[in-house]
Symmetry: D3
Subunit: 184 residues, 6 copies
């Protein structure tokens, strides 16, 4: 089970008004390579890891990814917080407003709802860890795409930090995979 701690893993404080960025940012919430998929992937796969160490690693990273989901949610929430209807129209977010007003939803940047078809669990620890390496690299790539599109430092800061975490996770998964491959 989990305990909630009322604190973000890394501070988010968006004061600028790049509302349009919400449309692309949301993909790191509910897109194919986003944080929600990552958390669910590891939460599900952990039951077929080969040992306690493996199960603990996946639980640990999954729990951190839940915190990343919360960071992205907070960024989205701050972007929408003070937006007027006119600003929403100007940013091309009418479709968003029609569906969710100033709320938001786990979709990709085209508005396609999140589905677990993005993730896999084969019950084979080696195959699942290869999927995890791929997941971390794909998330890293998407963060880089977002950073290319971002225009203000209060957005770029958290994205750089989140991107870096993917690299750290990649390395931790790689280490476990190497160990498991040797054992096989």
């Amino acid at each position: 089970m989990w305990k909630y701690e009322k604190k973000l893993q890394y501070p988010v404080n968006i004061k600028s008004n790049d509302l349009k960025f919400a449309k692309v940012l949301v993909t790191q919430y509910g897109g194919a390579n986003g944080e929600l998929g990552a958390a669910l992937r590891y939460l599900n796969q952990r039951y077929t890891m080969l040992d306690d160490k493996g199960r603990a690693l996946l639980t640990d990273i999954a729990t951190e990814e839940l915190g990343h989901v919360e960071m992205i949610q907070t960024m989205l929430s701050q972007l929408f917080a003070n937006a007027t209807i006119d600003e929403i129209k100007k940013a091309g977010l009418e479709s968003h407003y029609a569906e969710h007003k100033k709320g938001f939803f786990p979709t990709d940047s085209n508005g396609v709802p999140f589905s677990v078809s993005y993730i896999a669990t084969t019950g084979d620890a080696i195959a699942d860890l290869e999927e995890d390496l791929a997941a971390e690299e794909k998330a890293r790539a998407v963060y880089e795409n977002l950073i290319d599109l971002a225009t203000t430092d209060d957005i770029i800061g958290p994205l750089l930090w989140l991107r870096q975490r993917e690299v750290v996770h990649y390395n931790r998964f790689k280490e476990l995979l190497d160990e498991y491959r040797e054992k096989r």
Copy 2:
């Protein structure tokens, strides 16, 4: 952010061998009215609640639902743990084995992958809370269906407990909704 505590919210200890039950149980993980959808629904809606009390309530219940996800996962894991190929064939779980071996996946009981199309966020706190009441009642109904189908006490016990939690959550959401309706 969240902290993981290595403990189930309610004990799960399945020793019986009703492997076939895994096929229906999984819907309370990844089905339309399952625990994963519940957790994500509240985690997403909390940003447009009307006050801190509302945000705290949704965070609180969402966090508990994550723990329920873990309970269902543990039940599935225990059901598969010692199954032989022959038992899997006898239980009609060949399709499951082909896809996930002794792992499992967030689907409904027909194997349809979980999607957030099951949940909604309108950005209107009243509408969202009505959705939450419906969610809790639907989850309660599905637990009752599962209990009708279950055959052993080590499965029925946790299901009864989980069913009861849905009733408690319904009442807490109802109280908040009544308060918000009055304020409107």
Copy 3:
């Protein structure tokens, strides 16, 4: 069975040219909280209501919702009727034109195709009626979002009327639910 009567439930006569509005309006046709989902939800659930009164109420409201589907379709049809390619491009509806020319399709405002994953039937009349209350409130909320985005009276008029019908339906479902709860 049904008989078609060549008449709209409430008059629709759009002469203004807010083509862009078609992109958001379509969600009340094929979106998560739209009229098509409402009609199908009640048509499906009516078979497990507890008595003739319940079955009749759901049939009655479902039939009305089919008429609302037709109203939204008519609005979409009138918006597209005289549009030129240039106007379609200006309104940002190239994607729509590529797929459907001057026709339209049951999607949400992002173009995601309608699916019955948006609706539920648990076979439990209480749970299903709670879902219906939620559905009516969510549809009401979306109509309000659309009215916020609309700019001309010939569009706002029918939307206001449709919004009001959701409130009426909510009350009728509420009455039945209260009755069923007492009986239980």
Copy 4:
């Protein structure tokens, strides 16, 4: 708009107990080639037919298909009506019961939820009518598959009648398409 007439288009009165057949029958409700898809396809396409005659034909057939939806729903409802838990388990319908108890849902025979991805509207009357011909032939083929699988006359009777209606619709659409092709 539509008026409901409390009468089936063709009588359905299933007294036999082939519960297992419900699992395949449901595809003519919510499957790729089922009656719901047919009704929605024509209801949507009618707005871009070339003349009143075309619009009237599609409205007419769509309205009849809604009545066919109701016939299939009634068949499903009668099959489930008196089933006990044991009979449901024997028929392999545990998954159904878990999700919908004695209700049912618009899915295909594998339990995949209905989606409008099965249907198309191009805004080109010729292309849409070709799609309608295909739809009627595919529905005819599926009815024949179902009749191959059915074992009792109270089920086969309505299926034969429904199959025949697809042939009639095919011919009516063909006539209109030929006329439109000549005009082009």
Copy 5:
């Protein structure tokens, strides 16, 4: 099995810079009526054609459609090749860039991922060939929509050629269907 020949079926050489067109063009790759769906439809249906001639025809046309997939991919690739971030933003393709950078993906023009729900195989050769006629007409219609939206000759040229191939395929399928209908 197939052999790859490093050559396009018809030359594609886009030098103009109508990046915005990529957003609609992609539907002929991964949309409901696109080339990928066509190829897979025939590849799948060929196993239940009535004779070798039928199987050969479907294999032949499917193989050509794979080549059309490649042509559309090449067009997309050339459109993105030299685009700068600023041009991508100007063209309204931020969402695309966030997900795929300068790559692309089989979706419709709204970004909805390709699914085989767009295609059907009934196992009945007559019904399947009617579906194929419909497919070719719908693809023809979409090419015409795209040509309406296109602005430069280096794009319109290949689209005209591809449109024409749909007409040829329609005629070949029609001939086979007529033959099969007579035999029945």
Copy 6:
């Protein structure tokens, strides 16, 4: 473009009658880790590889995977070829017959239609190649699951060969990825 060669990459000749196996085998056609997804993944990603060598490798392996699709299709076709209605019922394939008669369809082993949500293209060659490594390992794992479930040598033979090809592809992708990582 491609040329079809009327020959399987590896011989398939199923004479035994394990019809039930068709239900699981189909996942290597249209499931999350199946051959169709593999082929499309590489066909799509090749446009953003870093050099001709990379593009050629992905084209080459994609083309081979198309041949694997054909092998699985042939296996499915042979399994269904002589089945009677009684055998189909005995094997629990009524749902299959209702939808596709003796044809088949690209789904997973639960009947969920194939979608490209299973695959990714980030436009980043490193991330895409990691995804390819994962894909090959996951396909390998699923072949092993299928071999566990298979009972006759005429089925196991081709599966062993196909499994081995995944290992070969893994190694070829790994080599390219290592090269690209060094260059970065």
